[in-house]
C-alpha cells in the first residue's frame, strides 16, 4: 500500500529526528518543551519568510528598475 509505506517512512524519519536531537532520551515534559520551542521557532522563520521576503524582493526589483530607467531617460535626452 502506498499510503502505508509512506506513513512508515514518515514514522522512520521522525525516529531519526528523535535520535539525532536526543529527544528519544527526554522525559515527556522535556519533549513537550523542546518541540514547542522548535515549532515556534520554525513558525516564526516561516512567517518572516512569507510576509517580508516578497515585499523586500519587489522593493529591490523596483530600485534596480528605477536605476536602469534613469539611464535610459538620459540617453534619450542627449540623442534628442
Amino acid at each position: 500500500m502506498d499510503i502505508k509505506s509512506m506513513k512508515n517512512y514518515l514514522y522512520w524519519l521522525y525516529c531519526q529526528f528523535e535520535l539525532i536531537t536526543c529527544s528519544y532520551l527526554m522525559e515527556p515534559w522535556e519533549k513537550l518543551l523542546f518541540y514547542t520551542f522548535n515549532i515556534s521557532m520554525l513558525v516564526m522563520v516561516l512567517y518572516t519568510a512569507c510576509i517580508f521576503v516578497p515585499v523586500h524582493l519587489s522593493m529591490a526589483f523596483q530600485f534596480f528598475l528605477h536605476l536602469f530607467g534613469n539611464q535610459h531617460e538620459n540617453t534619450v535626452s542627449i540623442v534628442k
Binding site: 522512520w12 528523535e18 539525532i20 536526543c22 532520551l25
Partner: protein, 556 residues
C-alpha cells in the same frame, strides 16, 4: 628468504594472495627486503612482518560528527535546566549532593564528570549493570527489570529472559562453563584444599598448586619463570612500582588501561605518552630520551620501560610488536607487554601476540597477562627471566601483602591451560583456538560488508562498532535486548566523547548459527537506527588478489 617464499606460496587469510613478485602491497609489508638488511633495523620494515597487518580506523564522517555535537548540545542545555530546577527545589533531587553543613567547602559534584553522570548517563543507565542469573557463556539468562522514574530506581518484574546471545563477556575460548572437565577438577580441589588460603604468598599462603601453576604458565609462555597473582589489575599496579622508580622513564601508549597508568604513576618514574600504536612517535620519544637524558640534570635515564598492551580492548587494535621489539633492541630499553586480552585469543597455538607474530618470547622482558579472559578464572601473571621473577617474589607488593590465589581458581587455570596446550590428550583446545579465529574473521567481514564502521585489526576478537550519537547508545542497547542479544555499549568517559561504540567480544563458544542470528539482528537494528556510516563499501569476498583498493590504508 623464507618469508618471501611463504608470502607467494599460498593464499593468506581473508582470501588475499601475494602480488606479482611475492610481496603484499598493503599496510607495512612493502617491497622485498634486501639480503643484507638487518632484521632489527626499522627503516625497511618490510622484513619484520611475516603476515599482513590490517588495521583500520575509518574517519568519522563530517555530518555525523556535527549531528553528534548537536545532540550533546541539546542534552547539555536540558542538563543545565534540570540542574537549575533541582537547585531551586522545583524538582526532587535524587542524586548524591553534599549536606547543608558541607556547602561552604569545595564543591564535590560540580565537575563535568558528575554533570555527565546526572544528566546523560542516568537517562541510558538501563543498558549497564544488567543482572544475570546463569553462567555467562555463549548464552545467558537475564532478569528483566523496569524503571518507573526514568532509571533512578529499578524494580524486577520477576520474569527471567532466557537464552540471550551473549556478545559482551570476555569469554574468548569459551571456558566460562559450569560443566565439563574444568568444573570437575575445580570441584575436587575445592573439597581437598578449601575455598581460600587466608594468607599472603610469603607467609603461609604458598600452596603446591601455586608452584604447579607457575611452572605450567612458564612452559605455556616459553619463558624461564612466572609468578601468579590473585588480581589482574593488582598485577599491573603493584608490580610496575617494583620494577621502576624515580630516575627511570616510562613510555606508555596513549590508550593504555587504567591499571598500567596507575602502576606507572605509583612508581614515581617520569611518564611520557606516545600516540596509539604509532612507531614514529615512539622512536622520536626514545631518541629524545637518549639524547637529552633526564630533564634538569641531563644524566642518562636509569631504565627506559615501554608499556604496551597486546590487544587494546576499546579499539580492537593489536600492538605492532615486531617494530616495538626492533626499537627496544636498537635503543636498549625494556618492554612490558600486557597481554590481558590477547593471551589465549591470538596466535595459531593460542599463546598470545608473541605467537601471533611468530617472535621469540625472550625478546619481551616482562610478559604480563590475566587469567580472567581466556581461561575463565581470575588473577594475573608475570613471566620473564628467572632473576626478574625471583626479584619480584621478594619485592612485589602483591607477593608480600596480597592474599594468594584460591586453589579451585588455580585448578581451573591449570585445567584450561592444559586443554589449550593439548596436554590433556584431546584436541579440544586447538579446535577452540581455530574456532575463535574463524569466528573473528567471519564476523568482522560480514559487519564490514553491511556498511558499519568497525575499528581495529582484522584478527582481533574484540569488535568495536561505532555509534557516535548519544541517543543511539541507549537505543542500540535496548533494541538489541528486545531481540534477545546482549551487547555492551560504551560511551564517555571510557571513550572520547563523540566516539561512542558498541563492543562485541567474540567467543569460541559461539556457533555459526548464533553469529548469523546476531548478524541478522544487528543488520536490522542498523537499518532502524541508521548506523551504517561507512563510506567504503567492501565487495563481498571473492578469490581475488589483494590490492590497495580492498582495505583502508592504515594511517601513519
Amino acid at each position: 628468504e623464507r618469508h618471501t617464499a611463504a608470502l607467494g606460496a599460498q593464499p593468506r587469510a581473508n582470501g588475499c594472495s601475494g602480488g606479482a613478485h611475492g610481496a603484499l602491497r598493503n599496510g607495512y609489508v612493502r617491497g622485498l627486503p634486501a639480503p643484507d638488511t638487518q632484521i632489527n633495523h626499522i627503516v625497511h620494515n618490510g622484513g619484520l612482518y611475516k603476515r599482513p597487518f590490517n588495521e583500520a580506523f575509518e574517519e568519522t564522517p563530517m555530518l555525523v560528527a556535527v549531528l553528534t555535537y548537536v545532540g550533546y548540545g541539546v542534552l547539555t542545555l536540558f542538563g543545565y535546566l534540570r540542574d537549575f530546577m533541582r537547585q531551586w527545589k522545583i524538582e526532587k533531587c535524587q542524586n548524591a549532593t553534599e549536606r547543608e553543613e558541607q556547602k561552604d567547602f569545595v564543591p564535590l559534584y560540580q565537575d563535568f564528570e558528575n554533570f555527565y553522570n546526572r544528566n546523560l548517563y542516568m537517562r541510558i543507565r538501563d543498558s549497564w549493570n544488567r543482572p544475570i542469573c546463569s553462567v555467562p557463556g555463549a548464552k545467558v539468562d537475564m532478569m528483566e527489570r523496569v524503571s518507573h522514574d526514568y532509571n533512578w530506581t529499578f524494580t524486577y518484574t520477576g520474569r527471567v529472559i532466557k537464552d540471550i546471545i551473549n556478545m559482551g563477556s570476555y569469554n574468548y575460548l569459551g571456558f566460562a562453563q559450569n560443566t565439563g572437565t574444568c568444573q570437575e577438577a575445580a570441584a575436587k580441589v575445592l573439597s581437598q584444599y578449601g575455598a581460600g588460603v587466608c594468607s599472603t604468598r610469603q607467609e603461609m599462603g604458598n600452596v603446591d598448586k601455586h608452584e604447579e601453576l607457575e611452572k605450567l604458565v612458564a612452559r605455556f609462555l616459553g619463558v624461564e619463570s612466572a609468578m601468579a597473582y590473585g588480581m589482574g589489575f593488582a598485577t599491573n599496579s603493584m608490580n610496575i612500582p617494583a620494577l621502576v622508580g624515580k630516575g627511570c622513564l616510562i613510555l606508555s601508549d596513549e590508550l593504555n588501561h587504567a591499571s598500567l597508568v596507575l602502576g606507572a604513576r605509583l612508581s614515581g618514574a617520569t611518564i611520557r605518552i606516545f600516540k596509539h600504536n604509532n612507531m614514529q612517535s615512539l622512536e622520536k620519544l626514545l631518541k629524545d630520551a637518549i639524547v637529552h637524558g633526564q630533564p634538569r640534570t641531563r644524566r642518562p635515564w636509569k631504565k627506559i620501560l615501554i608499556l604496551v598492551e597486546g590487544i587494546y580492548s576499546m579499539e580492537g587494535s593489536i600492538v605492532r610488536l615486531p617494530e616495538v621489539i626492533a626499537l627496544k633492541k636498537k635503543y636498549k630499553s625494556y618492554l612490558y607487554l600486557d597481554e590481558a586480552h590477547s593471551i589465549g585469543a591470538l596466535g595459531p597455538h593460542g599463546r598470545g601476540v608473541v605467537d601471533y607474530f611468530g617472535l621469540s618470547p625472550e625478546d619481551v622482558d616482562v610478559m604480563m597477562g590475566t587469567f580472567t579472559k581466556s581461561f575463565g578464572a581470575a588473577g594475573g601473571y608475570i613471566g620473564g627471566k628467572k632473576e626478574l621473577i625471583d626479584y619480584l617474589r621478594t619485592h612485589s607488593h602483591s607477593a608480600v601483602y596480597a592474599t594468594s590465589m584460591s586453589p579451585p581458581v588455580v585448578e581451573q587455570i591449570i585445567t584450561s591451560m592444559k586443554c589449550i596446550m593439548g596436554e590433556d590428550g584431546t584436541t579440544v583446545g586447538k579446535a577452540r583456538v581455530q574456532q575463535l579465529a574463524e569466528n573473528t574473521r567471519y564476523f568482522r567481514r560480514r559487519l564490514k560488508e553491511m556498511g558499519f564502521i568497525i575499528y581495529g585489526n582484522e584478527d582481533s576478537p574484540v569488535v568495536p562498532l561505532m555509534l557516535y550519537m548519544p541517543a543511539k547508545i541507549g537505543a542500540f542497547g535496548r533494541e538489541m535486548l528486545k531481540r534477545n542479544i546482549g551487547v555492551v555499549v560504551v560511551g564517555f568517559p571510557a571513550t572520547p566523547i563523540i566516539e561512542s561504540r558498541a563492543r562485541f567480544c567474540l567467543s569460541a563458544a559461539h556457533t555459526k548459527e548464533m553469529l548469523d542470528t546476531a548478524l541478522k539482528e544487528i543488520d536490522e537494528v542498523g537499518d532502524l537506527l541508521q548506523l551504517k556510516y561507512s563510506r567504503h563499501r567492501l565487495v563481498p569476498l571473492l578469490d581475488r588478489p589483494f590490492d590497495e583498493t580492498t582495505y583502508e590504508e592504515t594511517e601513519d
